[in-house]
């Protein structure tokens, strides 16, 4: 079934079955790639942070540029109040980015192409942001649903729409990432399959498509990680600076 474009998203157990009570928490290929991504991040950034030279080498430059990139992203979208959440957003961005990028390696598993993973991340962000909002503003955080300058007649409708849009945040955030990754990888697989099925005569067109798609997918992998992180910043901005 290797020609099935959805086959690449299959999760299977690696090693023995681990049960916690009646719950199956076995180590799977998804877990393996989560571990690989995290380890890669830790190794790269640890090496980059190790040396303290005035003129940085490549790894140091990479880690410092990433640091300033995320720091700038946060300060641009959420202001200086978001500084305590820097390390979380940095970890989130790097985790999603590395999972996406590792997914681009042939035969690799894409962790972020699974709705459950992205949904857990998005739900965690949603709950965290809501808690932060209520902690900072108390019940005044509910003013987020009542935009100022709206005619009183439209207000009930607007409030309902605002509440729905607020509650749909975790779904839109998770589905955006998951759908992008799944669609991209499925497409690459499909075009890769065409290269084989059309053979040496007609296979060149899907092959060139595949090459172009690889470039596009690398861009998408970065872009979706960036979008995921920047939307988190925007939600955090709503919670920290209540000016709707």
């Amino acid at each position: 079934m290797a020609s099935n474009p959805m086959y690449q998203f299959n999760v299977y157990r690696i090693g023995p079955e681990i049960k916690l009570g009646s719950v199956d928490i076995s180590f799977t290929n998804a877990s393996l790639f989560m571990v690989i991504s995290s380890l890669a991040i830790l190794i790269i950034f640890n090496l980059g942070a190790k040396k303290k030279t005035l003129i940085p080498d490549k790894l140091q430059l990479l880690s410092e540029l990433s640091y300033s990139f995320v720091a700038k992203m946060i300060s641009d979208t959420a202001g200086s109040k978001a500084k305590p959440y820097f390390s979380f957003i940095f970890s989130l961005f790097m985790f999603v980015l590395f999972c996406n990028m590792f997914g681009m390696i042939p035969y690799a598993f894409t962790v972020t192409s699974h709705i459950i993973v992205t949904f857990v991340l998005a739900a965690f962000i949603f709950i965290g942001v809501t808690i932060i909002g209520f902690m900072k503003h108390g019940l005044g955080y509910l003013k987020l649903f009542v935009p100022s300058g709206v005619p009183i007649v439209l207000l009930p409708l607007i409030v309902v729409i605002e509440i729905i849009s607020y509650l749909s945040r975790p779904i839109s955030l998770s589905v955006r990432l998951f759908a992008n990754m799944m669609a991209g990888h499925t497409m690459m697989k499909v075009f890769g399959g065409f290269v084989i099925s059309l053979g040496i005569v007609g296979g060149w067109l899907p092959l060139s498509f595949s090459v172009a798609l690889t470039g596009l997918e690398i861009l998408v992998a970065f872009l979706q990680a960036y979008v995921f992180a920047i939307l988190t910043c925007i939600y955090l901005n709503d919670a920290l600076n209540l000016h709707h």
């Binding site: 950034f45 005035l54 820097f86």
Partner: protein, 195 residues
Amino acid sequence: MLKKIVFLLFVTCFACFNTVFAAESGGMPQLNPEFWISQIFWLIITFGILFIVLTKVILPKISNNLETRKSQILENIETADKQKEESQKKIDEYEKIILDSKLKAKSYFNEAREKILDDINKKRAALEKDLDEEINEVEKELSDLKNKSGEKINRIAAETSAELIKELIGDEVNSSSIAAIVEDQSKINKERKDV
């Protein structure tokens, strides 16, 4: 032609896609809840460890590195500014020294020149004085000699004339009268010479 080929290719692609999907039985593996709990569990573990290690160990180091670099660069710029100022001061000092020494050299030169000129003048004045004196002396001697020579000549002439007269006439003539004649004669000679 090319359009037709591309169109045909897409039709084939679509057909392939359909057959591929028809072959699939379980739908999207993402919606199979068999390993959801496992994925959530491992996500929490890996992301948690990643977050904790990044927060506690790595990010402070990077931020520290960046801060250190920033402060070091600022410090270096400050030092450079200070050194620039100092060097400017040194250059000013140096120029002042050169100007001073130039002036000094000039004054030394002038002093020396004046001294030498003074010396030369003094020496020349002394020499001129000496020379004048000597010339005067010589002139005086000469005029003395001239005056004296006239008298002597007159006397010799008188004596010689007296001797001659004595030899000629054998008698002595009054010497004073001879002297008077000689004097007259020499005066006439002189006048003639002067004229």
